[in-house]
Symmetry: none
Subunit: 155 residues, 2 copies
Amino acid sequence: MENQNISDIIESYLKQILAESQQVEIRRAEIASQFNVVPSQINYVIKTRFTIQDGYVVQSKRGGGGYIRIEKVKLLDNLDFIDSLVAAVGDQISRHDSLSVVRSLFEAGAINRSEANIILAAINKDAINTGDRQVDEQIRAQILISILNHLRYES
Amino acid sequence: MENQNISDIIESYLKQILAESQQVEIRRAEIASQFNVVPSQINYVIKTRFTIQDGYVVQSKRGGGGYIRIEKVKLLDNLDFIDSLVAAVGDQISRHDSLSVVRSLFEAGAINRSEANIILAAINKDAINTGDRQVDEQIRAQILISILNHLRYES
DNA sequence: ATAATATTAGTCAACATTAGTCAAGAACAC
DNA sequence: GTGTTCTTGACTAATGTTGACTAATATTAT
């Protein structure tokens, strides 16, 4: 309690609002000024304390009228399962192995058949083909992880 | 909630009319004056928020009695709907424009909400981020086209 | 008819206003 | 001392706003 750094204090401030509201929308510069820190510190706080694993989804817009919006989402009860698939995907994944991941999701009931087919269309050879096999495997991994993270919560 | 920019406000105004009417016809200078902006801002709003990917067709006429007419088009009436989206995607596509494509698919009934969200997860910034923007836009285009082709034969 | 003028909308580039990234250094925990 | 976390700011990117200039069309004068 005593030795809270400024990031912790900003985190508490935002979570206090989120305790009463489903979401909070801020202007980055305004909050930074309010707590007397540089604007990019707000990004740091969000990146380290409002992740999808914590149950938050963050959206933002630049330019005039820009904002950062943090939304509290309802996490599903398949988190351990998703974690294990994220670990299995890793930094890169072959096409063959990625099929297993999609099949696991389908068999677990996390996605239905047509959702599975869309994911397969997104990661097949037509979709990802840079000419460098390793790059392709990295991109495929990132896409799968992004989708897996999406499947963590109710939307 | 708080600080909407004027472009968003003008967009809302026009879409409110379009919610009750198939089309809206305006005089550029009149709307600009009504919202206290320069006339060219109306062009900006239309160019960024009423594209064909969004499901709108815009016609205009200059000179005396000139107008800008925005018409909401029913995409499903067009049998070449998927073809037109494939053409709109092209060799590369920005994240912003790709959102419009997915929204069009949803509004046309080609995909449901959870399918749309999966596609968005597959093409967002976390998923596709090689460090080279042009490469990212090319990959995003290939993924979208792969999905569009899948949807073509699915339905 | 034709030319001149008036009345609209379109384009484009400069500038303004936001947020994001990244890497260096400081502070902290062990 | 070493490794992690926090803090900072320079640089980048996305989006919005403005106005000078251009283009198209209609109206009026000859």
